[in-house]
Subunit: 257 residues, 2 copies
Amino acid sequence: MEIGDEIDDEIIQSLPSGVALSWGIIKPSRRGPKGELSIKKIVDAAIDIADNDGLAAVSMSRVAQSLGYTTMSLYRYITSKEDLLVLMQDAVCAIPIPQEVPGKPWREEMGEYVWACVDVFRKHAWYGDIPITSVPLAPNNLQVIDWMLRIMRDFPLNDFEKMSFLLLVSSYARACGLIARDMDKAIRDGASPETFGGITYGAALKQLVKPDRFPHLHPILMAGAYTDEVENPIGNDLDFGLERILDGIAHYLREKG
Amino acid sequence: MEIGDEIDDEIIQSLPSGVALSWGIIKPSRRGPKGELSIKKIVDAAIDIADNDGLAAVSMSRVAQSLGYTTMSLYRYITSKEDLLVLMQDAVCAIPIPQEVPGKPWREEMGEYVWACVDVFRKHAWYGDIPITSVPLAPNNLQVIDWMLRIMRDFPLNDFEKMSFLLLVSSYARACGLIARDMDKAIRDGASPETFGGITYGAALKQLVKPDRFPHLHPILMAGAYTDEVENPIGNDLDFGLERILDGIAHYLREKG
DNA sequence: GATATACTGTATATGATGTATACATTTTCG
DNA sequence: CGAAAATGTATACATCATATACAGTATATC
């Protein structure tokens, strides 16, 4: 922490310790040997492991080993594995926020926002495996939220309406991110793009989903649309849904304006 | 499995074993003692534990203990803990699907759908902690999807458009479900409804979120809208977002029709 | 009915995990 | 210099998922 920031430690303590660490809150140590490790090194190593072998492969011992230290050395920097997950999560949220371009349509900007969020899920497949336990609190995550609020700056809306739109668009981005990373994985595993989920499970589902019990799902499954076995004529599925959301937002703005 | 269903075992084997179990696919045993346990008993016990003590408390030994059996006895019924999680997930998806009411507006129906989904998250706080790894495959989950498709039955849309709307609405329901259960928990833990997230973290964030770094988030946070410290004038936040989604859908239907 | 077979629940064991604790070492402040 | 504090390590422990081997029991076949 910089000196002069007048941070009230009492209040900061109320944050989960991982969140505090993500804000760089660490009491500086005056004596004793300088740490050879650092939070950054630890988090980077953990992210490396998660990227390659999944979140389940991230154990304290594996992270320490990859750095050439003992398991317990990590606990000199973080208080628990939970901290590590919080830090990993926020570290990959450090994405470049595009420069503000005056006159750029907000729909376009929101599209960029959504795909940037989706990209995080795709680049770090484990990201979506960490459950959300509260409103975002860590700095990089909040920076992204700040971006979305910038896009809505000139909307004639109050704070709560903006927060609702933020929730709406962000949760859609999350859902798309999860799907996109699963598709990536299926393709990496050798399936062709069209057969993601399809060949693997489609055939089995067709035997189980009987028309009397699933009258409305059945025809869609049989046509191959549930498991995306046939080519999707509306093109990018995710883009389509986003356009509907943006339509809904535009409609609201029109009514208000 | 009922006889005469002509299920091709080969193809069914491609499903994750937990999914197969959720469909009731078990090779019937001809000889040997009758099982004293059952999948249902195991899953119910696990759900009970998760409801009371969270998903982390669900261990094979704890579940077995609560039933009065040894840990390993469970493995006579399921092949792994992963199976158990899949089964738990699908078990709580067994919600009553409302009767079809001719002439009922689809917006109303979709609202019911969303709140029914949210209810699952609220009744079983652990539900949202299980990461999604594929398109829904288990029967009760598919039954819910069938319901949503029923609502859209008379929409002049193709299968893919319907699937997109399904994704859109369901992911919003999931996001709301996560938020709702977190609010429930905060209230149960003694916070008043208005102070969910607020008292706990709001004060800390206000010290950390500086206006130069977060120019757009800062005013909203200070006003208390980010952490919902002050009363939300647009009423139910989640309902508001849903209305925007439905507006977007309605807009699309109008353009097509 | 006898016997082999297959299925049950159990006991035991293994390797991994997160983390508490105690310790030896090293650096820095008074 | 010597005390204090911080670092990395070694050891220990409880808990976990699960592999394996086994003893008992119900059924199918002879």
